[in-house]
């Protein structure tokens, strides 16, 4: 099972509360869909600067592989505090460790309740169903 310390979206982001801030990234499934396990196929990632306001479901960045571009959507509304700039030049981090080193942004959410998101078990089921 995927990490149980966080919640998941249908667009394959994860969000983990850390005090009154939240960390957001994308799942192993999302990375694999983009590059099929070939980290060299990831070419670009654009993350927002601090102070950017995001709505729930709003695009906060983009990630691009040799063959596809995907939007990064925020699971909750809030204000961006910092981004993981290391990713932009080292996209392989995303396939090596999407759960920790591959975090993308830290935000100050408007609400600390993560409503309407999936837990790890539900997300595992969701991915299994969409892969069929």
């Amino acid at each position: 099972m995927r990490p149980t310390d966080r919640k998941y979206t249908k667009s394959h982001e994860w969000i983990m509360m850390d005090g009154d801030t939240a960390v957001i990234g994308i799942t192993d499934f999302a990375v694999n869909e983009l590059c099929n396990g070939n980290e060299g196929d990831l070419v670009y990632c654009d993350l927002p600067e601090a102070d950017r306001l995001v709505e729930a479901g709003e695009t906060f960045g983009e990630i691009e592989s040799v063959k596809a571009v995907a939007d990064l959507s925020s699971p909750v509304a809030g204000t961006v505090i910092e981004n993981n700039a290391a990713i932009e030049d080292h996209l392989e981090i995303l396939s090596e460790d999407p759960w920790k080193k591959g975090w993308m942004i830290r935000i100050k959410p408007n609400s600390t309740k993560l409503d309407g998101l999936m837990d790890a078990a539900a997300y595992d089921e969701f991915v299994a169903a969409s892969a069929e």
Binding site: N38, V66, K67
Partner: protein, 371 residues
């Protein structure tokens, strides 16, 4: 996720699955997009050799006393003037000059063998059969009776000659074909053609032999660096080589004249009238836009549909794009209004709301077969 149950499969489908390929829907076919990293597959074909499953493409045979005359009424190239044993690029256009497909014509003594794109197979066949009415010829669909694979790269001759008898494959000239015994299969059509800008062959044999031929080639080719290559790398290879792809540089709305495919269009008087001729002549006399190549130093990959700007003025749009490991930058093709096509012209492409600088580049980006 597409419903893979409804997709068509080539005779080699299960072989790709066993090789661990990532499979996608390509024109209604369940095809391998990559076996490993796409860019490594591109480099493998440029530096050594690659093997491609082309079972999804359509293979038609126009046979009979009027075969060549009939083909000359639907094809843009001049079939009657193709030397026997040679192959020419051509298009099938409608009255408006826009193509329903681009094809290869194999000129035989009396008949014409035609290879068409997977996505246009059905309508090509319908088109050919409709226009064959009144001619003493028959359009035979050999797609299910003949399979097709491509061997592409500098080591192609060294690999293919190991499993071929009765034919000196190295002596077949570019865009010519011959027949030989391959893997013990007699009468295999061996064509020195391809879609990569590299030397190589496309060979045709019964689908019952596909797995054996594929595996034998991989076995004897391994010491020469031969690897299976997916459609992802094939797209980059053809784009680097400046070769059009139906649905990108040409389609129902993009004519071959503005696409720079004049080498596949005959305006010779002796050819006589053919579908689309008048429209193509008119476009040639008064083109509105032209196809260019672009390179960009930015990280983002050019993709079909992105708009091109010169200053604040919109001047065109991309139709293809890719990372290019061979050139070392990202590349693309685009249509621009006339006056913006000079090599070195600085343009900007709009990538989902952000501008990235690009330059008009000479075409092809790369080719070992065409200079």
């Amino acid at each position: 996720m597409s419903d893979t149950q409804t997709l068509k499969q080539t005779p080699l489908h299960d072989v790709h699955a066993a090789l661990g390929a990532r499979m996608i829907d390509f024109g209604g076919w369940h095809m391998p997009v990559q076996y490993g990293p796409i860019l490594d597959e591109v480099t493998c074909v440029r530096n050594a050799c690659g093997l491609f499953d082309l079972g999804h493409m359509g293979r038609y045979h126009v046979v009979g006393p009027d075969a060549i005359r009939m083909v000359d009424t639907v094809a843009t190239n001049f079939c009657a003037k193709i030397p026997v044993g040679s192959i020419r690029y051509s298009l099938f256009c409608l009255e408006n000059g826009n193509p329903i497909d681009d094809v290869l014509l194999y000129r035989e003594e009396r008949d014409v063998f035609i290879v068409v794109n997977a996505g246009n197979r059905e309508r090509d066949l319908e088109h050919l059969r409709k226009h064959a009415e009144g001619f003493d010829c028959e359009v035979i669909d050999e797609s299910e009776d003949l399979d097709m694979i491509a061997l592409q790269g500098q080591n192609s001759v060294a690999i293919l000659e190991q499993i071929t008898e009765g034919c000196d494959v190295g002596a077949i000239k570019y865009y010519k074909f011959d027949y030989g015994t391959v893997c013990g299969i007699e009468g295999v059509r061996i064509s020195r053609t391809g879609y990569t800008g590299e030397d190589g062959f496309e060979i045709y044999f019964p689908p019952t032999e596909s797995e054996r031929v594929w595996n034998k080639l991989l076995e004897v080719g391994a010491p020469h660096g031969l690897k299976p290559i997916g459609l992802g790398a094939r797209d980059t290879l053809r784009l680097e080589a400046g070769m059009a792809l139906y649905g990108h540089e040409i389609d129902d709305n993009h004519n071959p004249v503005e696409a720079g495919l004049g080498f596949g269009i005959s305006f010779k008087e002796e050819k006589g009238d053919y579908l689309g001729r008048a429209a193509l002549e008119e476009i040639k006399a008064n083109p509105k836009q032209t196809l260019i190549g672009i390179t960009t130093e930015g990280k983002r990959v050019p993709r079909q549909g992105y708009k091109l700007f010169r200053g604040d003025t919109e001047v065109g749009y991309l139709v293809s794009g890719s990372v290019s490991p061979t050139i070392g930058t990202n590349i693309g093709t685009a249509y621009v209004l006339l006056g913006n096509e000079e090599v070195g012209t600085e343009l900007e492409m709009d990538i989902r709301g952000k501008r990235q600088a690009c330059l008009v580049a000479p075409q092809p980006f790369f080719s070992r077969t065409r200079k």
